[in-house]
Amino acid sequence: MKLSNWFARDGGERQLLWPCVTLVLLCGLNLLVNPHFLALRTLDGHLFGAPIDILNRAAPLVLVAIGMTLVIATRGIDISVGAVVAIAGAAAATILSTEAVPSGALVAQALVAALVVGLLSGMWNGVLVSFVGMQPIIATLILMVAGRGIAQLLTAGQIIPIGAPAYLFVGGGYLLGIPCSVWIATVVVLATAALIEGTALGLFIRAIGVNPVATRLVGLRSKAIVFAVYAFSGLTAAMAGILISSNVRSADGNNAGLLLELDAILAVTLGGTSLLGRRFSFAGTILGALIIQTLTYTTYSIGVPPEATLVVKAAVVLAVSVIQSPAARALAVSFGASLVKHRGVAR
């Protein structure tokens, strides 16, 4: 099977057209401002340049968005991922801070602890949604609010600095000239795609997303699958938490991963996965995450004043969403046609 099929199946290619167009347009805009936008150079055997920078910074978002894609594919949503990022970072930093010069074993312990905490958080969400039967947005809202509190309890309200070189390598180091975080994100994406499409999970998740009632009536354990999907989302959020805390060399219970859940949801929807439960596309989600990160980069590079950045971003997101909506495009076409007709009559 072709790799592209693993990402987007059966007609998914066309679904990816508009995200691709958007990304190309954004890159084009950057090239206008800075002709060397796409240029890469090596320094000390490390690749540098805007594209590498964008990929590096997009890595945590890609990780979170991959988990979010599966959640949204089952008609759910997980707005707690930002808080889970903070908890995971705080857990790792707390463990690292027990030794002045952390040993390799302690770093390994910190990494495992962060992942386990993320997994537990995800399982908590999964229990609430799947077995208790709460609305996903409410169920995950609980951890979204409580999670920040837990992270702050772990860090005792302080920003804990991280100094262990091995830990800092994860989010800031380079491997074969490419940032470590890009490797991690790539491996996780490929492994997830292989797990989902290499087994029957992909079929099951799609079926649950399209028709949960019918899926239950074929004898599927829908609840267990939905539970697992939330647990996985917690796990990928924890990975993002490790990357972020490593990258900024500290754990901040208050601000780490703030509003990351919204960027993740945006990345998934920009990638063409419907919030109403439809076919999902990992490739689309990755494109969506790259669009968001490129957009952030662009606002800085073209000199949008910092206080206006959020407004500009919002305007572009609105424009992108409208372009990607078939209904809006149809409306625009018919409006254009009627405009032409009226002019013709006037002449």
Binding site: D10, A200, R206, V210, N211, A214, L217, R221
Partner: protein, 542 residues
């Protein structure tokens, strides 16, 4: 005030076809002629003539999908007919919206009470048209008028209390009061009794009779046969979007009514003879005696046995055996417990009493997954909601149940899945461009075949088919039924549910008859005749 108790009809003659001469004395208040309505793929109404006279209760009967709701929606301006005319008081009308119909005096009460439970009774009666005084709402006047409106129905309530303080039946009265608070000439009640108990129904009927006396024309929709006879002057039977006929209630025995609803055209002379109670009793005894004979003939042990399986509010405890390699039919009207039985057996709903035995051993079927593991498959009644996964391909839909049984880890490879799908597409004659086509794009009959394929691919021991032929054209229908019979010859057991009695009899070895959520009889399928079953369903055998 009382219009006319004297009936202008000559008894003994059903008034079929165009308005008969005996109706010349009176003009219908509401009438349709040649009304048709087509939805994509479905002819919901075909040239329907319908008449509603003032001072009469006219009941619209028909099975699910017969066109009752569509006719009501056309009469009340919810839908515009494609063809035909509607006359109100002799003038041609075309209601653009339910509001226009209401303004013209056609008031409708829908199945669910759609009032605001948090508002007071008085507010509910006058919501949207509160009497005003100097621009402000005149509360004392509302209260007075609400009491008067209820008094007209012989109901006395504290109109200032919130509506949800009262039981559903009372809320229904309030809804009627609301409907009548403006000048109503026609009152349409769409299954108003489905959530009422016996005494509440009696109270409602008292009010309807009262309204009838005052000259209001009442159109009543129900599928409870006893209630139909308790209240109706006239009955119109709908079937497959067409008017089967219009009858005076007193001229149409219950068993004939059932026969007309389910599509039994000719009434045999034998049935008329059997109208005498003795013979009815004999017929019943016959069917009772046939049971052990059938059981004798079947040396094979039953595959599934239900012993006292029931669920409160859904199904009275039921005993049912499905023999290996046989088809057991379930006959009964909508709401008689057919689908409920199927869902309990499949674990889609949980039984709260009784035991289920598979191959003689008691098993727990608490979820569909349990049932599937015991080799049971279930094609649900509502294909769209409970069957197909519309956006997925035919291939994915067909392998879904098989894959669910294998578990998530042991994936059926894509080529293998394609092979399975292609094989069933060919065996069942599914018409599709190829197996990758989304199943939602197929016609109803082909969707149904694909769902059959989904279960047959799992090599089931028992298949539960709930209305497998509904909404399917005749050719596909026979095709599906013939294939089912062939499968049975290979040892598959089938629980077959259909509202078409003739269809049930054609395929079933034995037929269990359900009425009012309980099993009332079991007869040998091919040996018994339709009339027997109509009688059992209509309850005229008691």
């Amino acid at each position: 005030m009382i219009h006319s108790a004297s009936e202008p009809h000559q008894p003994g003659q059903p008034t079929r076809g165009a308005p008969g001469p005996q109706d010349g004395a009176r003009e219908p208040i509401l009438a349709t002629s040649g009304v048709s309505k087509t939805f994509p793929g479905v002819k919901a109404l075909q040239g329907v003539d319908f008449r509603l006279f003032p001072g009469e209760v006219h009941t619209l009967m028909g099975q699910n999908g017969a066109g009752k709701s569509t006719l009501i929606n056309v009469l009340t301006g919810v839908l515009a007919p494609d063809a035909g005319t509607i006359r109100l008081g002799g003038e041609v009308v075309a209601f653009g919206s339910p509001q226009e119909a209401e303004a013209a005096g056609v008031r409708t009460l829908y199945q669910e009470v759609n009032l605001c439970p948090n508002l007071s009774v008085a507010e509910n009666i006058f919501a949207g048209r509160q009497p005003r005084r100097f621009g402000a709402i005149d509360w004392p006047d509302i209260k007075r008028r609400a009491q008067a409106a209820l008094a007209r129905l012989d109901v006395s309530l504290d109109v200032t209390r919130s509506l949800d303080a009262y039981p559903i039946a009372v809320q229904q009265m309030v809804a009627i009061a609301r409907a009548l608070s403006v000048d109503a000439r026609v009152l349409i009640l769409d299954e108003p009794t489905s959530s009422l108990d016996d005494s509440e129904v009696a109270q409602l009927f008292k009010i309807l009779r009262h309204l009838k006396q005052s000259g209001i024309a009442i159109l009543f929709v129900t599928h409870f046969i006893e209630q139909t006879y308790a209240i109706s002057d006239r009955i119109t039977v709908m079937r497959n979007g067409e008017r089967e006929g219009e009858y005076l209630a007193r001229d149409l025995p219950a068993d004939q009514l059932v026969a007309k609803m389910v599509g039994h055209e000719r009434m045999s002379a034998r049935l008329r003879e059997a109208a005498h109670e003795e013979q009815v009793a004999d017929a019943l005894q016959d069917s009772a005696e046939e049971m052990p004979q059938v059981a004798h003939a079947q040396a094979a042990a039953p595959f599934v046995e239900l012993r006292g399986v029931g669920r409160r509010g859904t199904l009275q405890p039921i005993d049912l055996d499905v023999q290996s390699g046989q088809i057991l039919g379930l006959a009964g009207l909508l709401g008689s417990g057919r689908t409920e039985t199927a869902r309990l057996l499949f674990g889609a709903d949980r039984a709260d009493s009784g035991t289920i035995l598979v191959n003689g051993k008691p098993v727990r079927l608490r979820t569909p997954r349990d049932a599937v593991r015991h080799g049971i498959g279930y094609c649900a009644e509502d294909r769209k909601k409970e069957g197909i996964v519309a956006e997925l391909s035919i291939r994915e839909n067909i392998v879904l149940a098989l894959q669910a049984r294998r578990g998530w880890w042991r994936k059926i490879s894509r080529p293998r899945a394609r092979e399975i799908a292609d094989q069933w597409i060919e065996r069942l004659g599914i018409k599709a461009s190829d197996a990758e086509q989304p199943i939602g794009l197929l016609s109803g009959g082909n969707q149904q075949k694909a769902l059959l394929a989904r279960w047959l691919a799992t090599d089931p021991k028992l298949l539960i088919l709930d209305e497998p032929t509904r909404g399917i054209d005749v050719a596909a229908k026979f095709d599906i039924m013939d294939r089912l019979l062939a499968l049975c010859a290979n040892g598959l057991s089938i629980l077959f549910i259909s509202s078409e009695i003739s269809e049930v009899l054609r395929v079933s070895h034995r037929v269990a008859v359900l009425r009012d959520r309980r099993k009332i009889a079991e007869v040998a399928g091919k040996a018994s005749n339709e009339d027997n079953i109509y009688r059992l369903i209509a309850g005229s055998g008691e």
